[in-house]
């Protein structure tokens, strides 16, 4: 038996964390879905198994539902889809869409009962509610099966710390239920370290700092009882770059700028740059340059957060140029207030970020006049 295990496509997912590129991100998830089908065809798998959360929500655009169905219909073999907690099998769900009956190779698994699949039997665990606290695999008993038995479930493998365990799955679920392989969904990262079961992760990374995602799993099982061979295949098309840079020296900002300048294919890259540390007033130009380059390179999305960047307390060289009196005192006060560690009492509502911005504005006004 040879099949492609994928899950958590979350088609129609909103992207409030990258609002400027939200629609593009949704489109990319569909494009990645098509790539999954291509991978399946390329590896000539017996069937394609989607282990839950194909859609973000039952209330998504029906056009996207149909697009997914069309993409999956391109696959020559059977495709098995398991409704799970994001798209549970309830009235009005995406699974009521007629597209699922228009293509013979598409099989929405609507009941917790074994289904014959090429090379064996599939034990699906469809979900009928958004929130479940029971082990979805509890009903499976394939120990007496002679054929290869594969399960498909959506939930959290026990042992992973979480506030409110949803659909907890025992770490030995596959062995306990007599399965040769249990295809898991729910976690977006790819995890293959369990015994006879694995999370494929999402086929396209969903956000910054999402570890080891954008993959599908090629699963090959030689015979009943044989150890499955699991091969991750990358299907994601986007680069989610999260840079957290600490600025200490004069050259640090320039180094960050150079790195941004060398990022490949910025049209498929999402950049989240966080700058921390101290900087001198005269480095403001470099900061502006970084912002300018990020905008000019047309990243799919970019965000530069410099609110963690504060003027160096000892940066008083330019202050000496100010005339003694209110101007210099103003600059000194703003500089003190912009220091997060200051012991000075800031005015009500004034944060170090506000004081930093005010100081930079003041610097610009002063220098602008000088020029």
């Amino acid at each position: 038996m040879k099949f492609l295990h994928t899950a958590d496509w979350h088609i129609g997912m909103k992207a409030a964390h990258a609002p400027a590129a939200a629609q593009r991100l949704r489109d990319e998830r569909l494009a990645a879905a098509r790539r999954v089908v291509e991978v399946a065809a390329e590896h000539q798998v017996d069937f394609l198994l989607l282990a839950g959360d194909t859609f973000e929500n039952n209330g998504i655009n029906r056009t996207d539902v149909r697009r997914v169905a069309l993409a999956l219909a391109e696959f020559k073999g059977p495709v098995y889809l398991v409704p799970c907690n994001h798209d549970p099998l309830v009235p009005g769900s995406v699974w009521e869409h007629p597209c699922w009956t228009e293509h013979e190779n598409l099989h929405v698994l609507r009941a917790a009962e074994p289904v014959a699949v090429p090379g064996g039997r599939l034990y699906p665990c469809p979900v009928f509610t958004k929130h479940a606290t029971a082990d979805p695999t509890a009903w499976i008993d394939a120990r007496a099966d002679a054929e290869i038995a594969v399960g498909a479930a959506h939930g959290s493998v026990e042992g992973v710390p979480q506030d409110q365990p949803e659909s907890p799955i025992p770490r030995d679920a596959a062995a306990r239920r007599g399965l040769d392989y249990l295809a898991l969904g729910h976690w977006h990262s790819t995890v293959v370290s369990y015994d006879r079961m694995a999370y494929s992760g999402t086929h396209e990374t969903t956000k910054f700092d999402e570890r080891d995602s954008g993959n599908v799993l090629l699963v090959e099982i030689a015979a009943r009882g044989a150890v499955p061979r699991i091969t991750p295949i990358h299907t994601g098309g986007l680069s989610w770059l999260s840079l957290d840079e600490e600025i200490r020296d004069d050259g640090d900002l320039a180094r960050v700028r150079q790195r941004i300048e060398t990022i490949d294919d910025p049209s498929r890259a999402l950049l989240n740059l966080s700058l921390r540390g101290m900087f001198h007033a005269d480095q403001r130009t470099e900061l502006s340059r970084i912002e300018e380059i990020a905008a000019a390179r047309d990243f799919l999305f970019h965000r530069i957060d410099s609110t963690g960047l504060f003027p160096a307390p000892k940066d008083d060289g330019w202050l000496a140029d100010l005339p003694v009196g209110p101007l210099r005192e103003t600059a000194r006060r703003l500089q003190r207030w912009s220091d997060p560690a200051t012991t000075d009492q800031r005015p009500d509502g004034v944060t170090p970020q506000v004081a930093t911005r005010a100081l930079l504005d003041f610097y610009a006004l002063w220098r602008g006049g000088q020029g």
Binding site: G12, M13, K14, A15, A16, H17, P19, A20, A22, E56, N57, N58, G59, I60, N61, R62, D64, V90, P91, G92, S93, K130, R303, T307, P323, V324, G325, P326, L327, E329, T330, R333, L334, W337, P347, G349, V350, Q353, V354, A355, R357, A358, L360, D361, F362, L365, W366, G368, G369
Partner: protein, 905 residues
Amino acid sequence: MILRRLAVEGWRCFAGPLELGPLDERINVVHGPNGVGKSTLLGAMIRGLMDNHAARGAEIESLRPDGRDLAPRVTIELEHDGQQLRVFKRFLDSPDSKTSRFEGGRWVPLAEGRMADQQVRDMLDGSIPARGFTSAEHWGLAQVLWAPQGRLHLSELGSSLTGAIRASLGAQMTSPAADRVEKSIADAYSEIYTDTGRVRSGKNAPAIVGLEEQLRKAREARERLRQQLDRFDELSRTIDDLHRQCEDLQRRETILDKELEEAAARAQSYDTLKIQLAQQKEEGKAAEACYRELKNRIETVELAKQNVRELGDQLKKLETDLPRRTEAVERCAKEETEAAAALASVETRREKVAQASRMAEQAAQYHRAKETFDRHEKRLRQAETLQNAVKQILQERGQIIAPDAARWRAIQTAASRRERAEAALHAAMIRVVIEPEGDFEVEITSAERPDVRHASPAEPVELTAAGTVEFRIPGVARFRATGPSESIDSLRAGCETARAELESLLAGFPTRDLGELEELQNRAVDIGDRLIAAQAQLDGLLGGDTLDVLQKQHEQSAAAVERLAAECPDWANAPPDAELLQADARQARQQFDADLEATSRRHRACREANLAADATLRLANSQLDDRRDQLRNTERRLGELLGELNADERLAELKADRDNRALEVQAARANLNRTESALKEFGDDPDEKKRQIERESNELKAELQRKRQQLHDAARDLNQMQDQSPYSALGEVEEEMARIEQSVAVEQLRNDAVRLLYETFRQCRDASVASVVVPVQDRATELLCRITGVPLGAVRFSESFLPEHVVPDGLDGPRELDRLSGGEQEQVHLAVRLALAETLYADQRHLLVLDDVLTATDPNRLARALDLLAEAAERYQILIFTCHPEPYRHLPAARYFDLQAMRQM
């Protein structure tokens, strides 16, 4: 600037020319009484230096001298920046303005017209209002130095002066770089905020306003879409629930249908049994009725047969008793006749008994009438006797004429009065009694009756007179007796009055002798008493009646006696014994009543017995007839019941038939019981149960229909909502919100930074100014202390450099200036003016003008203030206008101008 000379002409009270000067460089005191023109001179100087010569209006017009058509003119010579300058201004008529400078021993023109006006104002940093005269705030630097009358208080400083003070206090504030930065900061701030610190709105609103509006709308849209998505989920749950409910209802419907089928079968069986039961009941009733009819018939026959027997017996007995009853009737009739005769015999005595009673009663009446007559007779006689006695007493009383009691008391009073009058008269008279021992003549010359009277031992002579009695006895002597010489006329008149009164009271009485009259009066009283007693006795006898009434009663009683006596003439001779008659009558009545009662009783008893015997006889005859009828009827009925067959045979047949019917009734009852038992086994009414199940089934079907309709509606709504893609729409709005929120955060940071920069800069600048103003405050405080002699408190300025309050030592809070005395207030303002002047004019001399100030300051403080002014004269030319020059006399090296004297010159 210092003033050298001031000349006016045609200026209010100065119609002619007046020149003040040359003025001393230090102190000048212009004095004169009120109205001499001191303030007018100061006004002319200010108008000449500050106002446009071409100014028009009522204020300018008021500069003309009263009643004169003169153009006001003023010439001012002054020294400024080491130059001698002259300013000439003419107002109203051919207005003119000229400035000139003294150069090379002559005055060289500098400017004319408006240029000249402006040139002079520039020297003092002054300005002009849009119309009318300038006021203090336009005087520029002079605002501090010049204090016109009543305006020593600093209430407002012009912007140019404030700027000048600031400029003097903070040198860095005037640097171009600082100004530029401050302006840039202010511009950035004003792009976002209003003067009151609020974010601008309208077309000039900063970007954040539009963003927040977008955000607000996006939030509203998000809320709406969230509700839509919630509704989507809710509909999904609702449909799920409805599906389950429909399935449940369908299951229940199937069960109910089966129950209904069973109930219908049971109901049918039940109905069949009920019909069977009804039939059995009818059959049972018919059999029982037949049986009962036969039974009754047999009983009727047997009863009729028994009746025939009994009636025969009764008939026989009645016929036997009939002769005996007839005989009894006859006997009773005879006894009743005898009793009736006895009763009639007794009745014949009734009249006799009544007659005796009447006689007895009449006799009793006769005795009572006789007694009444006697009593009336006696009373009448007594009354007549008493009436005669009264008449006799009245006759006796009529013969005595005597006063009544009141008259008698009046007479006694008059007599007493007369006696007292006569006694008084007698006492007033001189009385001489001559009791001769022999005869002689007495010549009375003075007495009541002058006369010659003969006197002898038997005939003494008594002489009386009032006052003097004089007489002579010839040959013996002349005698004169004198007494009191009072008049006796009044006494005599009184005496006569008393006598006349007594006489009038005694008139008509038979005697004038009071004793007799008293006796008469006593007798009259005694007769009166007797009359009263007799009358009372008569009244008591009459008892309210009159004698006529008594007479009438007497006559009536006599008539009654006569009437009764007429009925029994014997009674006139021998009055009847009423009691004996009554006793006899009573005895006769009792005997009669007893006899009557006895005979009546017997008669009633006989009659009743006769009636009873008769009734018995009639009853027996009636019964006899009745029994005969009954017997005939019964025999006829018996014939009808039994027909013509042998009665006994027929009766036997009837009884056999009855027994058969009894068996039928029993069989019917057994069937009925069985059917009822079968019905009871059904328990509750199966029809009702069936109807109940039908109702439940109908309700359930209706509920199922409702649920299906709800399901249909919910599914339709859900489909519609699916088309709206609620999650996708919500996601897009939230993405838009995130984008706006990022922009808002950026803008907010920018705005907050601008505000912080602006406010921080302002605080620093104000703090800087405040720090340099402290020495000025300290200087004002020091000067004030020198004037007051004791510390009044530290003077504090407002942001616009006006004195705001003083802070006394030892007090917690500041004291507002208006809480100081009037003298203290003017001292504070003088100190502040001097301190500000030192700040502003540290490098050159200026003119300090004080017009009639310090008027409320006490002499000690005034002296100390003048010491200060003397010291100030080192830096300022001081020009003082006052109507009290004395306190200023000790100012060293001051020049005094007597304005009144100058005008007279």
